[in-house]
């Protein structure tokens, strides 16, 4: 087993290095740059140290946005993961109806985010929207522009409509990989429906579920476009999630320093929570081994 050593092989990595540098590292560095400097205009910057980070970490406004964000993501995961599994379990396994279901399920995923927002913005309006008018006609005092609970409900239902398909399709793929013999053996062993789910279907879905939870966590934690189009973060700050707040800070108030510090913390929080999810779920898998 003689492996020849040739250090010139490192040159093969160079193109990727350059690409990553220009697409990720250098832009990120400009953010880092802003986060440690202050300016009074005229393109003159001076060193601010960790001032902006301290400001962001102690800011009550950011704390409130973070709280809303965590609540929103928790609700989204609590609805979409079980619902997605439920839908996947009840989809036809083959034939015409399976294909039709797959197409219908994939549709919401193909619609651009701002279009989704616009659809629901109009759908929920009490003057012309179908949903708004039906709810009003049924006697509900529904108005997502003035009532924070209505705004939350609308944004959550919209996200469930938009993204549950993703969880369902991933689970469906996991379920399709289970050989028929497993179901037959379970019937022979007189297993209950719950036992089939618990001991056959769930273990086979574990891998795709990990991916589904991670994707849904990251996406919902960074959600911007849809709630921005529907509620604009309101009423008041009721649906101002982290991204919306960040954009307000960076572009609305042009506070580049704090916004840059905010971005970096935001990024690290997502990285940290994703890592925690991943570690916990892979460890769960190993423990039961």
């Amino acid at each position: 087993m003689d492996k020849s050593q040739n250090n010139r092989a490192w040159f093969l990595v160079l193109p990727v290095l350059v690409l990553v540098a220009f697409s990720a590292v250098i832009p990120l560095m400009t953010v880092v740059n802003y986060s440690v400097q202050d300016t009074f205009g005229n393109n003159a910057f001076f060193w601010a140290g960790l001032e902006w980070f301290e400001e962001i970490i102690t800011s009550e406004r950011i704390h409130a946005a973070l709280g809303r964000q965590v609540l929103f993501t928790a609700i989204i995961l609590a609805i979409q993961v079980p619902l997605g599994i439920f839908v996947a379990l009840h989809m036809p396994k083959k034939g015409f109806w399976a294909s039709l279901c797959l197409i219908l399920m994939a549709m919401p995923l193909l619609i651009p985010f701002n279009v989704v927002g616009t659809i629901w913005q109009i759908f929920g309006r009490v003057d012309i929207g179908l949903l708004g008018r039906v709810l009003t006609a049924l006697g509900f005092d529904y108005n997502y522009t003035s009532d924070w609970l209505d705004a939350w409900a609308t944004v959550i239902v919209m996200d469930v409509w938009h993204w549950t398909s993703l969880v369902a399709l991933l689970c469906y793929a996991g379920l399709q990989s289970i050989p028929e013999a497993y179901y037959q053996a379970a019937k022979i062993d007189q297993a209950s429906r719950w036992a089939v789910f618990r001991h056959i279907e769930l273990p086979k879905m574990r891998g795709v579920l990990l991916i589904a939870v991670l994707l849904r966590f990251m996406d919902s934690f960074m959600i911007y476009t849809e709630p921005f189009v529907v509620t604009g973060g309101g009423p008041g700050n009721a649906t101002t999630f982290l991204s919306i707040d960040l954009v307000k800070m960076a572009i609305g108030q042009f506070d580049l320093g704090p916004a840059a510090a905010f971005s970096i913390i935001y990024f690290l929080v997502i990285l940290l929570i994703s890592w925690v999810f991943y570690t916990v779920m892979t460890n769960l898998d190993r423990e039961t081994k």
Binding site: A181, A185, I188, D189, Q190, P203
Partner: protein, 361 residues
């Protein structure tokens, strides 16, 4: 435990079968006696697995009925039939330990913990996995997993029947022999009805009291290994059982004589006038070299250990015979004697009973 009766049973995987060719199982009547050890033997794709799945309720037959001790269970779900089945490839519950896997069918039936523990220990001993009981089933090798599947099949004592669908395919040869012995012992101890599907004749003949041979969706013969050897009811049985299979010659049969390409061959009994394609069949064990008889050309001699097979050609068709120990192998042109009382006569592949045996036999 119960006698299993298949009545006018037929199955097609097509919703609207058009003619017999669409049926995976042709119409059949068959009784599996309570406590019998059966082997279901046949080539791949002959409908063995379909038949098994119908008995266990995994497949609902398109026609006919399945009766367990007189009770019609044709439409009853698998769980209600209380039947055990082991599949060709291992099925284990990955997240459970070996112990939990073995206990699973008993737990589902709500047996008490002490009984479950005792029974699991017995089965673990039987499949030789006592030391691995607390390991997770996921990381085990294919043959260990198959042993677990076998164990799960045997763990319930009150099942109506245990069905084995080529269960030893993935097991290594030594373990195969041992497990087969265990199965036989289990059968003797508990007297479960056992149906063992295989396409390996050695496996079938060593396991079973009765062998059921299937061919193209039909049961062509049910009998003891001796019966299958001595009087194959169908040319397929002659060809499939025995190594090498039965020799067949096209012939004209008149009374006690068969004419094979102009050569008279004496038969052990008289036969009625026959229609269709008439053949005579004889096992290689009952063919010997002689001064008179069928002229053949020897092509080669094979030493297969226990005996030698002489391969020859008669009128362009292969003929085999087993050489007795010590007998010199012939070369070139020679003649063969067919023991008359061992010759069977076939019309359109089905055995014809000689005159005098027609009634009552």
């Amino acid at each position: 435990m119960a006698e299993i009766t298949l009545s006018k049973l037929a199955h097609s995987y097509f919703a609207k079968p058009r003619g017999e060719a669409d049926f995976a199982l042709k119409e059949m009547d068959h009784v599996w006696q309570d406590g019998g050890a059966y082997a279901l033997l046949g080539a791949s794709g002959c409908g063995k697995t379909t038949l098994l799945n119908i008995i266990s309720g995994l497949v609902t037959p398109s026609q006919g009925r399945v009766l367990f001790g007189g009770r019609d269970v044709t439409r009853a779900p698998t769980a209600e039939r209380n039947i055990a089945q082991v599949f060709q490839f291992p099925v284990v519950y990955d997240t459970m330990t070996v112990r939990e896997n073995l206990a699973f069918p008993l737990k589902n039936r709500g047996r008490d913990a002490a009984y479950v523990a005792r029974r699991v220990d017995q089965i673990a001993k039987m499949i030789g996995m006592e030391s691995a009981l607390d390991r997770r089933a996921q990381g085990l090798t294919a043959d260990a997993k198959q042993k677990i599947s076998l164990g799960r099949g045997m763990v319930r004592e009150d099942v109506n029947a245990i069905l084995f669908d080529e269960p030893l395919t993935v097991i290594d040869p030594h373990m195969k022999w041992e497990l087969r012995t265990q199965l036989k012992q289990l059968h003797r101890e508990f007297g479960h009805t056992m149906i063992y599907v295989t396409h390996d004749q050695t496996e079938a003949l060593t396991f079973a009291d009765k062998v059921v041979v299937m061919h193209e969706g039909r049961v062509v013969q049910t009998g003891t290994p001796e019966e299958l050897f001595e009087t194959p009811e169908h040319t397929f049985v002659g060809y499939f059982i025995g190594s090498p299979g039965m020799n067949l010659f096209d012939a004209e049969v008149q009374g006690e004589t068969a004419r094979v390409n102009g050569i008279d061959v004496p038969l052990g009994a008289a036969y009625p006038a026959l229609r269709g394609r008439v053949q005579i069949g004889i096992r290689p064990e009952f063919v010997s070299l002689a001064a008179e008889g069928l002229p053949v050309t020897v092509t080669r001699v094979e030493d297969v250990g226990r005996h030698r097979i002489l391969r020859a050609e008669a009128f362009g068709r292969p003929v085999n015979l087993l050489l007795p120990e010590g007998e010199a192998a012939a070369t070139g042109q020679t003649r063969l004697r067919l023991a008359p009382e061992k010759i069977n006569v076939y019309a359109d592949d089905w055995r014809v009973k000689p005159l005098g045996q027609q009634r009552g036999a």
